[in-house]
Amino acid sequence: MNSINETLIPKIGVITDVRIDTPDIKTFRVVTPDGKKAFDHKPGQCAMLSVPGVGEAMFSITSSPTNEEFMEFSIKKCGCVTDWLHQAEPGQQITIRGPYGKPFPVDDVFAGKDLLFIAGGVGLAPLRSVINYCRHYRDRYGKIDIVYGSRSKDDLLDYKEIIEEWSTDDGVNVHLTIDNPQEGWDGHVGFVPNYVKELGFDTNKVAVLCGPPIMIKFTLDGLCGIGFDKTNVYTTLELRMKCGVGKCGRCNVGAKYVCKDGPVFRCDELEELPSEY
């Protein structure tokens, strides 16, 4: 039924696994009813998931494109659709369409560079796909630093994967931090922007930021403060979206549509946009 150019009619997806990451974030594994990946995507792209009768919402695809079996979505419980999804059990069908948006420039700009990923809270979700992509093609990139912070140890997303896989990789440095001291936590305590400044990275890296708006703002200021150039810093935006294809007008900021021209923006591109995001 779905013709090639059909943009608004979704495919059926099946939730095959639900992983509880933090008290309010779950990671859902989604495949088509015949067990395949719904579509190919690039790191940083998004998909529209919907629950008929509840609504449709845009989520970043958390799993790496190199995973050819399924897609994963890390979803924080915060609205109608996400509330519903959090109650869903494996086997539940949902609808899925995509991929939408411009990916991170992993194959050109990032190639050969040292990479610095900075994430806060559920902001790790969109970065996980690009981090894993870069880890998969490890020889194409230089050193990888990951700074990830959250409210508490329990709120760290993908903690197991970070400790067991990312930290053990060659040339990958993981720096974790939590907002307040906590029993059983011997790592760094403090906010991400300050931690980034303390760590004081080489300014020739490409930095990728994702997290709550306030974290992005201060981290970006911090990075610029230690000499980063805005043309080397990337981030992702999130606005309300309905169509996903740059027509419904909802995510329009300046002459850009976040669903089509974003969600990945270089920070100097962002400066060209009116401050409405």
Binding site: M1, N5, L8, P10, Q92, E238, C248, G249, P274
Partner: protein, 339 residues
């Protein structure tokens, strides 16, 4: 060029309606005009234009996209589209014809909106020159000639006759089917009328409205102007301007649970509404000023930036006539563009 006596106009309508659904502006009980399907006895309104724009034909206010049937954990997606018959829209003014170009650039660029494309491919547009433009008209600002409307067939009406000229293959085919009711003629009368209309155009009070100061790349310059406060202060936040506008194309996608299935439909939405950009975690346009600015920036800056300088306004004047507080794009253009 072919002509037909106005006495025979109903025969002509009947002939068109034989092969396709015919829509034309008819008079409503309140005196205004609205596009209605022609049937025996329909009266063609002589109002300058309809309250609702003809964008409805290609981008209806409400349109079902699909249906979901859910059972237990599984979902079935049902395509609810029916085959569409050809239809003819008669009496579209030059500004509204141009508005289809504006919409085309949104819906027909990749990825093509198949719902819109399907309707667009089935529609034949018979445009009509404006004999008596209103004081609210400013189509000239956007390079539109109300004396020479585009469309598949252009038409000119005089006191006694109506003249037709086909512009496209679709138009030629339709005009051929009407050959028994029309006769070949030269363009003397039409040329005279064009001249007369152009004279009127020079008298219009809004003839000097220009797009100077607007266009792609002006975002930084215009976005933070203090004038937006003043312009938006009376805005009620209703959707009248967006809903009567022939070029406003923002939409919402919603689900309706009928009790036995879920219908997903799309409907017009307005950037003037407070919930337009509201998400679970906040709203990036909290004040009416921001929402008001978005509408005009989109029409006069953002759209042209993405569409080779074409503005998303055709000067039809509907918002001038219908805004409850008489704030409109002309006032915005004069206030801000003149800077």
């Amino acid at each position: 060029m072919r002509k037909c006596s106005l006495e025979k106009i109903n025969l002509l309508f009947a002939e068109i309606a034989k092969n396709a659904e015919l829509y034309l502006p008819t008079q409503q009980t309140d005196g205004s005009a609205a596009y209605k399907k022609w049937e025996e006895g329909s009266v063609w309104s002589n109002a300058l234009n309809t309250v609702r724009s003809p964008k409805d034909f290609f981008f209806p206010q409400t349109e079902n996209l699909m249906k979901f049937k859910t059972e237990g954990k599984s979902i079935e997606v049902v395509d609810t589209r029916n085959a569409l018959d050809d239809f003819v829209i008669f009496g579209v003014r030059a500004c509204d014809v141009k508005s289809f170009d504006v919409l085309d650039r949104v819906f027909l660029t990749e990825p093509v909106d198949s719902f819109y494309a399907l309707r667009r491919s089935h529609g034949v547009i018979i445009s009509l020159a404006c004999q008596r433009p209103s004081e609210t008209c400013f189509c000239k600002t956007f390079g539109i000639d109300p004396a020479a409307p585009a469309g598949d067939i252009s038409a000119w009406k005089t006191e006694t006759e109506i003249f037709f000229e086909a512009n496209t293959q679709k138009g030629k085919e339709l005009l051929e089917k009407l050959s028994a009711l029309t006769e070949e003629c030269d363009d003397t009368v039409v040329s005279e009328q064009k001249e007369k209309i152009n004279k009127f155009m020079d008298k219009l009070p809004l003839k000097n409205v220009t797009t100077d100061g607007f266009g792609g790349g002006k975002t930084k310059e215009l976005f933070d102007l203090p004038e937006w406060d003043e312009l938006s202060q009376a805005c009620l936040g209703c959707g009248t301007c967006t809903f009567v506008c022939p070029t406003c194309q923002c939409y919402d996608i919603k689900d309706f649970n009928t009790g036995n299935s879920v219908i997903r439909f799309r409907c017009w939405d307005s950037c003037m509404y407070s919930d337009f950009t509201k998400m679970a975690h906040g709203n990036n346009r909290l004040s009416q000023k921001e929402r008001f600015r978005q509408r005009f920036m989109h029409k006069l800056v953002y759209y042209p930036e993405n569409n080779d300088g074409m503005f998303s306004c055709v000067g039809c004047g509907r918002c001038l006539a219908k805004c409850p507080i008489s704030m409109n794009i002309v006032k915005v253009m004069k206030k801000i563009g003149g800077k």
